[in-house]
């Protein structure tokens, strides 16, 4: 059992260490057509695919290959922006917009769903103080 477990761990470790070209091609962007490499047949995309395969054959890991391409083409070559620095904004802004939008919608729904009081007959009673004033004036007029 322990032997089987050890073999599985080793197999898992080996697959994590050996990058898959197809996976990398879906995580890297062609700098000319700005689609991922697996979606592009542009000459530079084909050259990048050849570069990836050559580096895999040379034993490079996924991060090493990505770093090598970033050194040539900048961070724009990564389909997912880096998680730190300015790239963090690309993650935070959509989240912020989502939360902000949800808040605005919640406030609107709350406001619009409040029941308005049903329209009743107009209240034709006078304010007691005003009524007293009117009575006084009328009494003065009659006198």
């Amino acid at each position: 059992m322990a032997v089987v477990g050890g073999v599985l761990v080793l197999a898992g470790g080996a697959s994590a260490a050996t990058p898959n070209a197809a996976d990398l091609e879906s995580e890297l962007v062609c700098p000319v057509c700005e689609t991922t490499l697996d979606q592009s047949n542009a000459p530079i995309a084909q050259r990048m695919k050849a570069f990836i395969r050559a580096r895999i054959a040379a034993g490079d890991g996924e991060q090493e290959i990505k770093d090598a391409l970033v050194a040539q083409f900048g961070t724009e070559v990564l389909a997912e922006p880096p998680g730190g620095g300015f790239g963090l904004l690309a993650w935070l802004l959509p989240l912020g917009a989502l939360v902000g939008g949800a808040l605005v919608i919640a406030v609107l729904i709350r406001t619009w769903s409040r029941r308005r009081p049903p329209p009743g007959p107009p209240d034709d009673r006078l304010d007691p103080q005003l009524e007293r004033l009117v009575d006084d004036e009328l009494a003065r007029f009659d006198a």
Binding site: P31, I44, R47, Q72, L108
Partner: protein, 186 residues
């Protein structure tokens, strides 16, 4: 309270619309690169956006504005670009024949591997200065949409003429020579 919440929501909505409008206006105002070639070919002579890029043909970097006082043919190319292969020998010939008159041909390799670019330069025996813009940041300011593109700058760093596509046909070469004459004599 409800009317206050409604006012806040309306304020946020109006704020978002205003923000989007400002972003649109900003992007339109800063899209100078898109019409740089148009303005140049209309005769406006817009200033060429400055850049500092690493050199491919040696160590260090080169700043475009350091070439003030010389006319410049700025050629944007890449090793994978097929028309660039036909154009490169002509540009080398232009550089050799006009450099004594104060012309610099500057090759700007973009969206390319450095080693591929150096191999290209060696294959075509290019001796004019070469700079490297892998991410293509500098060429965005020029509104470059394809490869190759060429800009002729006068001695004050203003764009005299822009060429989208290769300068391989006789008509384009006549236009290029005419623009170079104008830039060198400026």
């Amino acid at each position: 309270m409800a009317s206050r919440a409604r006012l806040v929501a309306q304020g946020v909505a109006i704020g978002l619309v205003v923000l989007l409008f400002l972003l649109l206006a900003w992007s339109l105002l800063h899209d100078e690169g898109g019409d740089l070639a148009k303005r140049a070919n209309r005769g406006d002579r817009p200033s060429a956006p400055d850049f500092t890029l690493e050199r491919l043909d040696g160590p260090g970097s080169l700043t475009l504005s350091s070439l003030r006082g010389k006319a410049v043919v700025l050629n944007v190319w890449a090793s994978w670009c097929i028309p660039c292969k036909e154009e490169a020998p002509y540009l080398e010939q232009l550089w050799r024949s006009q450099r004594a008159k104060g012309l610099v041909v500057l090759g700007l390799d973009a969206k390319d591997f450095r080693e591929d670019a150096r191999r290209f330069a060696s294959r075509f025996d290019l001796t004019f200065p070469l700079v490297y813009d892998g991410p293509g940041d500098a060429i965005g300011d020029y509104g470059v949409t394809g490869f190759p593109e060429t800009f002729v700058l006068d001695r004050d760093g203003r764009v005299v003429q822009a060429f989208a596509g290769a300068v391989n046909g006789e008509d384009e070469r006549i236009r290029l020579r005419s623009a170079v004459e104008s830039a060198v004599s400026s």
